[in-house]
């Protein structure tokens, strides 16, 4: 990660010099610039997740229709993605690209804040422009903080937890079906992640916490600028998809024509056919899956028809 961290250190030191040797301002400006540069990626990621959210009901229908036959499920999903021009990896790719940048940034701030001999040995090896040494050590005092040390009043860790939670709540709306396993995962993520990062920030240099808080606030602002803020999501209510997509419009003849790969065994019994399942397909489920499918069938019967 040095190939990213080292140029970031140089950039941070230039900002430090440009803004009157204020490390706090340098970190804030540094965070704003990097957020602005990576905004197209963030935007693409959010758009993609929005589209995936719109597709969620259709995906659920497909799962029901091809219950027990994973191959057909996958084929049908591909048909769905193709028809609506969606690349399922498009949501991950920006994240994958941003992760090294985030790690590089983190490393840069950590190194530049160095206030122990070993950190200085490390910093020396990272300074691509020797003249920058003249600025060392950086002036790390800001308000009650020494930016190279943890916040003694624990104000920043609290802010880190609050802003991380807020950002995750706003940018990760719960899936439409609260009983979906991914919904539970999302709930856990939005609870555990902020706490975990908050715990880390108790022992991290407060300069890093400032970077984290500013980054979170900017993330929320960016999301708001895209018109995606819905404060209902903070109360755990799902965003209503702006566009409902159904599998009725899909051409699934090719998928239906595929031979079924599901093989019944003595332990497994064929599941009762649901209304949406094709008659010629005889899906096989395990007992657990069967229970799930039965409960879903009950749900479907209870829920109003679309």
């Amino acid at each position: 990660m040095d190939f990213l961290t080292n140029p970031f250190i140089v950039a941070l030191l230039f900002l430090y010099r440009a803004f009157g040797e204020s490390l706090f301002v340098a970190i804030v400006v540094f965070t704003i610039i990097t957020r602005a540069v990576t905004f197209p990626l963030t935007q693409q990621q959010l758009k993609s997740s929005k589209k995936m959210q719109e597709l969620a009901p259709a995906l659920k229908e497909l799962k029901e229709r091809y219950k027990g036959d994973r191959e057909k499920q996958a084929q049908a999903q591909m048909v769905l993605y193709r028809q609506y021009g969606i690349n399922p990896l498009a949501g991950c790719l920006p994240l994958v690209i941003q992760m090294p940048i985030l790690f590089g940034l983190y490393g840069a701030i950590y190194s530049a804040l160095g206030n122990t001999p070993l950190q200085f040995v490390d910093l020396h090896q990272r300074l691509l422009i020797p003249n920058l040494s003249q600025m060392l050590p950086l002036k790390t005092s800001f308000a009650w903080l020494n930016l190279g040390q943890p916040d003694p009043l624990f104000i920043l860790p609290v802010l880190v937890v609050a802003t991380t939670w807020l950002q995750m709540k706003l940018t990760m709306p719960p899936p439409p079906d609260p009983k979906d396993p991914s919904a539970a995962m999302t709930r856990n993520m939005t609870t555990i992640m902020p706490l975990m990062i908050g715990l880390f920030s108790i022992s991290f240099a407060s300069g890093l916490s400032i970077y984290w808080v500013v980054g979170n606030v900017l993330g929320i602002v960016q999301y708001a600028l895209m018109g995606r803020i819905d404060f209902r999501t903070m109360r755990g209510k799902a965003n209503a998809p702006t566009q409902s997509i159904s599998i009725k419009d899909l051409d699934l003849k090719e998928v239906d024509a595929m031979p079924s790969r599901a093989k019944p065994t003595g332990a497994n019994r064929p599941a009762p056919a649901t209304a949406s399942a094709p008659a010629k397909s005889a899906p096989v489920v395990t007992s657990t899956k069967r229970k799930l499918s039965e409960s879903r069938s009950v749900q479907q019967r209870k829920s109003p028809k679309r």
């Binding site: 001999p117 050590p137 539970a184 709930r187 609870t191 715990l199």
Partner: protein
Amino acid sequence: MTRLLTRRGFFGVILVVVSALLLSGCTPLILPESWAGITPDGVIGADGRYEARYLYIAYRDTVFRVDTQTFPESRPTERFVDWAAHGNRLFTRPVLGEDNLIYVGSYGHQLYAYSPAASPREVNIPSFAPTPGAVPLIADPLYYNGAVYQGQGDKGINVLDAKTGALRTAFTDTQNGIWAAPLIDSATNTLYFASMDQSLYALTADTMTLRWKLPLDGAVGGTPLLADGVLYVGTFNSEMIAVDVSKDQPEILRRFKTKGWVWSTPVLSEGILYFGDMSGAVYALNSADFSPKWQAQVEGAARGRVAVVDDKVIAAGEQRYLKAFNRESGALMWTSSPPTDDRILGDLVVIGQDVIVTTLSENQLVVAFNLATGGRAWFVRKPNSDDFARLTLTPSAR
């Protein structure tokens, strides 16, 4: 929260919380912030060797003493630790005072005094009063005339009574911390030190009043060298600077631009100044005009002080090797072997035929190489709980 406490979720939360606690809480204990300081119990002779038998070493949670002349019968490549004591994040070099007291500064904001004199194998309890201030002590202490001069990590120097630890006086008008021991010129009663605020200071030693302050354009992490009224000081702005301090006001005589930061104290021998820099370059300069005599290279940063003994200049490279260069020509004479377990960042000490250095490896914390060949002579690991148990036994039971 109730939803979280499902079986899988519960264990997931426990795992994450434990991991977070371990990472956040234990990180400062796992990661060393500095390297081990090493102090021989004698003085350095004109030939560059220490007239000493014992080495005092402080590292992390332990301060201990190595007898360089005794070793277990079955393991001649080791040396006995004959005294050790626990401490809290001890990273400065131990300094010997009167009454066999040893002073060590800690990252836990305290200066400790130990007394191993009563019995070499007795574990003693730190007995020094806490140093005022709330920042790590990075600078080595200086013992002088019944007082301990301790540079502070944030700013200034405290002068403490060497017996009681009581604060006698202090100088607080630096803009940043002090990372190296100050230097006292007893003839003029002057205390010299350089600070990370990029300035060199001269104070009246007993009253700690400022005589002058000189900007150096670079932070300083090492103790200056005083010779014939001239201070030689290296900076993090990659310079070796000579300052005339023989008059009322200081004057920068000359500067020498180096490839990397100069962290260590230089060694002056027969008019030649020897030192290494953080790029791994080792320099031999004529002290009178800073004209280069020769320049050599070690692997990794040459952070520590070089040793000049006999016909050799020995320098340690961060990348686990020592190199000996011919003192006249700079030609390579040997490279130490085998490589040390971990990085070398400490100063070099020569006792007899042993070139001794500390590493960041606890298994080979102190390593000695043969002065003539560069082959490894012996090593000492950081004392563990078994060693402490052995040290509390009677001498006959060892």
